[in-house]
């Protein structure tokens, strides 16, 4: 029986956690299987929750987010018969499978779309917690935007430096308003629950917004340009399925554009906003990235970004 530990922010954050939850639910629907699920309430409970899952016999135990890395490092050796899956960070233990995403690639496409949509020549980014992972989003976004319009200005704000930054919609809204006052007319939120405030502020002020992780297009159909979905749902689904079949491989796996691990969400909610120009530009860039013709820089590799923000 697989287990899933929903991270801080809750399974209905409309974003990262929700995506994982959806994947687990899809697995339940499709296979009729059962899984154990619990929700973290605080940072310091990671250990108890992981242990509880393992003690209870859940296998594999899927944990979401980089914040689990150091705890998992400690817990995994205590339960050699249990497999663990961690998303967004790499843990080198024999019984751990690490799944990472090529967020920079998806964000590049989002940046292109933003640049095309922008009339003011300024677009912006609201991140959650200021960590390399989020800078990776931002950097990819900026590269994409500059690829369309070299002179475009990209404003970047991080909500905070602690996990609380994932869950502060009020501040998200304030940051967005400030970016709007600086001229931004497309905002990309990669901020977990904080993003809800960003998208809301964008809708209130009538500018375009780009969601993240889950498909958030439905939230404000009039203003949601697209969402940079990260298929955490697929990752969870696959992990569950592989475990059931006994084929779960530990080690690192990276999900990118090619494997459809990241993508831009196109659906009925944003079809009126997405122009033909955007569609073609994106499709083209996507192919080029897959083909290796466009090299999108990954912030985490150098801890720096080649373009100005």
């Amino acid at each position: 029986e697989p287990g899933l530990i929903i991270d801080l922010g809750g399974k209905f954050d409309k974003s990262f956690n929700e995506s994982a939850y959806t994947g687990a639910q899809r697995w339940v629907e499709e296979t009729g299987g059962d899984y154990v699920e619990t929700e973290l309430q605080s940072e310091a409970q990671r250990e108890q929750t992981m242990r509880r899952m393992a003690e209870r016999g859940a296998n594999p135990v899927v944990v979401l987010g980089f914040a689990n890395a150091s705890t998992l490092e400690k817990v995994a050796p205590d339960y050699p018969d249990t497999n663990f899956v961690i998303i967004d960070e790499q843990v080198d233990q024999p019984n751990v499978k690490s799944i990472k995403f090529a967020e920079h690639e998806g964000s590049y496409l989002a940046g292109m779309m933003a640049a095309i949509a922008s009339e003011t020549g300024t677009v912006s980014f609201v991140g959650g917690m200021d960590v390399p992972l989020i800078r990776k989003f931002a950097c990819g976004y900026a590269q994409g935007a500059k690829a369309v319009n070299e002179d475009i200005e990209v404003i970047q704000n991080m909500t905070g430096t602690t996990p609380a930054a994932w869950n502060d919609p009020v501040k998200g809204g304030e940051l967005t308003r400030s970016q709007i006052s600086q001229g931004s007319d497309v905002v990309y939120a990669a901020a977990g629950g904080t993003g809800v405030g960003v998208l809301q502020a964008a809708a209130d002020e009538g500018i375009y917004a780009i969601g993240v992780d889950s498909n958030q297009n439905y939230m404000h159909p009039e203003t949601m340009l697209t969402s940079m979905v990260k298929r955490v749902d697929n990752a969870v689904y696959d992990a569950f399925e592989a475990a059931e079949a006994g084929t779960l491989e530990t080690g690192l796996e990276v999900l990118d554009l090619e494997s459809e691990g990241v993508a831009l969400a196109m659906d009925e909610n944003n079809e009126d906003l997405v122009t033909e120009e955007m569609r073609t530009a994106i499709d083209e860039a996507k192919q080029q990235i897959i083909a290796g013709e466009i090299e999108v820089h990954d912030y985490t590799e150098t801890d720096s970004c080649p373009v100005e923000m």
């Binding site: 940072e43 409970q45 250990e47 003690e55 914040a67 150091s70 400690k74 205590d78 996990p163």
Partner: protein
């Protein structure tokens, strides 16, 4: 109005208060469509039905003993220390610095050093509010609340800057192995008993020792006498040559040190690294524990175990049902409300009953004149 036997004061009334709190909590559970009896069963089983349960129950209890004693010592000096949370945060910092600074060869060496580190940092964080209360009359309740916020800002700042370990999460590096405390599992294994993997560790013994020392301090030493005297009457203390500012500061230093010691259990015993919040509200639980335990170390010990069970049981409840862990916070709130704020609601009628039915036998101390 004290014509009530002592046992009623220290046992009966707290128990009635607790029962009321649980009753209301049960109603809340019913209201959200859960079966309170079932919930209680899950909680009890989860908390004390296995060595795993006990391991967590007593682990939490260890935290609460320290913070409960911290609040209790301050209560004896009539100080309401709401700053346990911040003091424990700083205690965490102290413990972490000690553990990280030296490549400890053995935990027996690291433990005393960490105790000192946690206590000193916790005490230092209590010192400023204490000093301001003693010398400048600033209300300690407000200043300690403020210091809780300042402490968490400080820790955030340190964990994203100087103390941050490589990686994305704001946390310190893991302590060297020599600073890891033996867990109950390891200790029991050495005498051949199987115990689950749970974070219960030798700090629990430190906590028991702290209970005894606090008892000794309060009721057997001159300092304790002075603390209690000040708590009962400040003019009287001054009359007796007890310096109120001095005692306020000392009592708060002890209180802060006890709160800081919590980190030995939480940071050194479990996390083995500094996180942004190691305290998890234990500073506040200490208030409930001290109130329920009537500020007596034995009472604090029992109340801490009760709350430990509540926390562990609550975690299990969340695991097994859809009741969120916040249920424990509700129970905690109700316990504080009934034992602390609504005490007279129970006390007055109970006293009335004793007065009415206890009249026949004259209580000792009725006037001889």
């Amino acid at each position: 109005m004290t014509k009530m036997p002592r046992w009623a004061d220290i046992a009966l009334i707290p128990l009635i208060n607790l029962a009321l709190a649980l009753l209301v909590a049960g109603i809340v559970l019913l209201f959200i469509g859960q079966n309170p009896v079932e919930a209680l069963q899950i909680m009890v089983r989860g908390a004390v039905g296995s060595t795993y349960g006990w391991g967590y129950t007593l682990f939490y209890a260890t935290n609460f003993i320290f913070t409960g004693l911290a609040v209790a010592v301050a209560f004896h000096a009539k100080l309401f220390n709401i700053g346990g949370e911040g003091q424990a945060q700083l205690g965490s910092l102290g413990v972490a610095l000690v553990c990280l600074a030296v490549p400890w060869p053995h935990w027996l060496l690291a433990l005393p050093a960490a105790i000192v580190g946690g206590a000193v940092f916790g005490a230092a964080w209590a010192f400023i509010p204490a000093y301001l209360q003693a010398k400048r009359g600033s209300h300690i309740v407000i200043t300690t609340i403020m210091f809780n916020f300042i402490a968490s800002s400080l820790l955030v700042y340190l964990l994203v800057s100087t103390l941050k370990a490589p990686g994305m999460a704001p946390e310190s590096a893991r302590f060297p192995e020599g600073a890891w405390l033996p867990s109950a599992r390891e200790l029991f294994a050495s005498i051949g008993i199987e115990f689950s993997r749970a974070p219960l560790n030798v700090s629990f013994l430190v906590a028991l020792l702290a209970c005894w020392l606090v008892w000794l301090l309060l009721w057997r030493t001159r300092l304790g006498y002075e603390i209690r005297a000040l708590g009962h009457s400040e003019p009287a203390a001054r009359y007796a040559g007890i310096s109120p500012p001095r005692i306020v500061i000392i009592a708060m230093l002890i209180s802060g040190a006890l709160a800081g010691l919590m980190a030995v259990n939480a940071v050194m015993g479990e996390q083995e690294r500094l996180l942004q919040d190691n305290v998890l509200g234990a500073g506040f639980v200490g208030i409930a524990v001290a109130l329920m335990g009537r500020s007596h170390p034995v009472g604090v010990l029992l109340a801490a175990i009760l709350f430990g069970a509540l926390y562990q049981g609550g975690a299990e409840l969340e695991f097994e049902t859809s009741v969120p862990r916040q249920m424990i916070i509700v129970i905690q709130a109700l316990v504080i409300l009934f034992t602390g704020a609504l005490d007279n609601m129970v006390r007055e009628p109970v006293t009335g009953l004793f007065l009415r039915y206890g009249k026949r036998k004259p209580a000792p101390g009725t006037p001889a004149e």
